[in-house]
């Protein structure tokens, strides 16, 4: 028995080891499971972080490209997509491509994280850059401005000088005169909206900064505020006729917003409040957009229909001029006027005043003649010569499915002492009868023709479109302008960004593309 017990005792030896190993195995399995669960969670977080990093890398590429293009518009792409070369930045590697279309620069950037050769994540973005908006007013004049009787202006109006709004004229927007007054003739209106022309959300405000203040008349309506402001040094008085709001010829005008004047207020009905003799600031003067021509800013690819075409074609565009530039370009127009498109710079040597005694024709040698043109796409004309729209009628596109932005920039400066009025004269931009941009459906901003006419000189247009025709869409900017009766215009923001007006570009569209 004793021997049996001893034998059993001997056979117990080693059990502890087995149990310890068993215990250790169980613990290790549990540990592995716990670690794996932790790793899986960590892996998910890491992937999410790396996915975000890939976007940062792509954005770094886009930023890099616009920096390079800002320094030099003809900069070379250091890491083009079609090559194996990559740029480093943003914690990864990226490749770039950029193209120019009209005034737009479109940058495409692919971000690789961590590297292109062994990417964990790849993301692609496309960013569109455009010039900063320079044209926000339907009509902008540096001197006194007359809005003729019955005119319809859908957009804001700005003038450094006085603004005279003719009888029955309708303005859907605001009227600002930084240093002059605003005179509103009988029955004229400044409205916040006009559904007939898809105009809405406007301020309907009249704001002046000159001593004349705001002078209304019977049946005048100002839907927004009427503010007769004054320079900060002015002593305001509720009895003063300077910087005042009043009505000419008796009667009253309606102001639906607040009426506020540095001087007196009289003849106003319907205002939500009336405060006379209180200092009110004048509108901040708005700088006339300055145009700087840089041929490198424009597309140059031979296949691009909007590439810059220069007259004369030799030498550096903008540096060279020619005594036949106008004639040469008019000859081009004669051939292409039924489907005109492209970007043209015409530099005439010793540009002369336009001859309005002769009928504007494509054989003109003193003025560029845009009489009777039809647009096949966007059209930009930059010139130091006078531009004559002649007796043209509607400027439309070759088809209703084609829309076009028409930009005409004339830096021609009329000789001092000469006149430019609705009958012509020494004008920088002139149109005789019935000039109209066919804006298509006024409720659809993206269709039809939108025109921007800009000159640092003088602009005049005689009669507007035929009766019943929709107003032309676009904007008119001139150092001084004279528009005859019924010249209507609907502001369209398609023309707010134009190459050459400021060097700054801003991002207008940011898209992530799926790879």
């Amino acid at each position: 028995m004793i021997q049996l017990i001893r034998r059993l005792q001997r056979e117990e030896e080693g059990y502890s080891l087995v149990i310890a190993i068993l215990l250790l195995s169980v613990m290790m399995v549990l540990l592995v499971v716990a670690l794996d669960a932790g790793n899986a969670s960590l892996g998910q977080s890491s992937k999410s972080l790396e996915w975000s990093k890939a976007l940062t890398v792509a954005e770094a590429g886009a930023n890099d490209s616009i920096t390079r293009l800002g320094e030099n518009r003809t900069a070379a792409d250091p890491c083009a997509m079609s090559t194996s070369t990559v740029c480093t930045g943003g914690g990864g590697e990226y490749q770039l491509a950029w193209t120019q279309s009209g005034s737009k620069i479109i940058v495409t950037s692919i971000g690789y994280y961590p590297t292109k050769t062994a990417p964990k994540f790849t993301r692609e973005i496309q960013v569109t850059y455009e010039p900063v908006p320079a044209f926000r007013y339907a009509i902008f004049s540096q001197t006194a401005l007359t809005i003729q009787n019955g005119a319809r202006i859908m957009g804001d109006i700005y003038s450094d000088g006085a603004v005279d709004v003719g009888g029955g004229a309708e303005i859907c927007g605001s009227v600002l005169s930084s240093a002059g007054g605003v005179t509103l003739q009988n029955g004229s209106e400044v409205l916040t909206a006009d559904p007939a022309y898809a105009c809405s959300g406007k301020s309907g405000k009249v704001w002046t900064g000159g001593p004349t203040g705001i002078v209304g008349a019977s049946n005048v309506t100002i839907s927004g505020d009427a503010i007769a402001g004054a320079p900060s040094t002015t002593t305001c008085s509720a009895l003063s006729s300077n910087y005042a709001i009043g009505v000419s010829g008796g009667g009253s005008m309606t102001v639906n917003g607040a009426a506020k004047a540095c001087g007196s207020i009289s003849g106003v009905t319907g205002a939500t409040s009336m405060i006379a003799g209180t200092a009110s600031s004048a509108p901040v003067p708005v700088s006339f957009p300055q145009f700087v021509f840089d041929p490198n800013s424009y597309p140059s690819s031979g296949t691009d229909p909007l590439r810059l075409q220069c007259y004369p074609s030799g030498g550096t565009c903008g540096s060279n001029d020619s005594s036949t530039a106008i004639g040469d370009f008019n000859a081009y127009i004669a051939v292409h006027k039924t489907s005109l498109t492209g970007t043209f710079a015409v530099w005439q040597r010793a540009a002369q005043p336009m001859s309005t005694s002769q009928v504007c024709s494509t054989s003109s040698v003193t003025q560029i003649c845009l009489d009777g043109v039809t647009l096949g796409g966007d059209f930009t004309l930059i010139t130091n010569a006078p531009v004559d729209f002649g007796n043209t009628s509607t400027i439309s596109t070759t088809s209703s499915s084609v829309s076009a932005d028409m930009t005409v920039v004339s830096t021609y400066q009329p000789t001092s002492g000469t006149t430019c009025d609705t009958n012509g004269g020494d004008c920088s931009i002139y149109g005789q009868n019935s000039v109209e941009f066919d804006g298509g459906d006024v409720s659809i901003p993206d269709d039809g023709v939108v025109g921007l006419l800009y000159t640092t000189g003088k602009m005049a247009f005689k009669n507007g479109p035929q009766n019943g025709a929709d107003p032309g869409e676009g904007a008119l900017y001139a150092a001084s302008m004279d528009l005859k009766n019924g010249y209507d215009i609907v502001y369209n923001s398609r023309i707010e960004r134009v190459l050459g007006f400021g060097t700054t570009y801003e991002r207008t569209l940011w898209q992530e593309l799926n790879l």
Partner: protein
């Protein structure tokens, strides 16, 4: 003696292992649920962020704390996109439409709070949206939150 001690220890260990195993089974289910909910939340948040980042404007009249309507881009094409929380009580469902509100598709179905969107405006324009997803798991609530700047907002 060693056998007796071993059997006793093994009994204790076996009991402990069984307890741990039972607990592990429960915890595994919890972890799995948590992981799935978190993954769904991440996918929804990434998807929504990507769309919002390309947003142009938020329809402020049609957008609330539980619904957002905005114009953006899908694969480079302009679209009106709607994200909307549906349901009358938790768990709410977050649904997406790339067709201006038509054909809403469920993306996430474990929301405990229907207030998802907070808007930041500059002037009158929404230029930033905070997205806050409160996700209910079997045992707890997880909060996923992100601020998205609308890159195409016209501010």
């Amino acid at each position: 003696m060693e056998l007796a001690v071993t059997m006793m220890v093994m009994g204790i260990v076996a009991s402990a292992v069984m307890a741990v195993a039972m607990r592990t089974f429960t915890t595994t289910a919890t972890i799995t649920n948590r992981r799935d909910v978190l993954a769904d939340g991440r996918i929804a948040l990434d998807r929504l962020s990507k769309q919002l980042r390309q947003g142009e404007w938020v329809d402020q009249t049609g957008s609330t704390a539980s619904s957002i309507t905005f114009s953006g881009y899908i694969d480079g094409q302009p679209q009106t996109i709607v994200w909307e929380v549906t349901g009358t009580s938790a768990p709410y469902t977050l649904e997406e439409s790339q067709l201006g509100g038509a054909n809403l598709v469920p993306i996430l179905s474990s929301l405990t709070d229907s207030n998802v969107f907070t808007y930041t405006t500059q002037g009158d324009v929404v230029d930033q949206v905070n997205v806050r997803l409160s996700l209910g798991t079997k045992t707890s609530t997880i909060l996923l939150s992100t601020d998205v700047e609308l890159r195409n907002a016209d501010t």
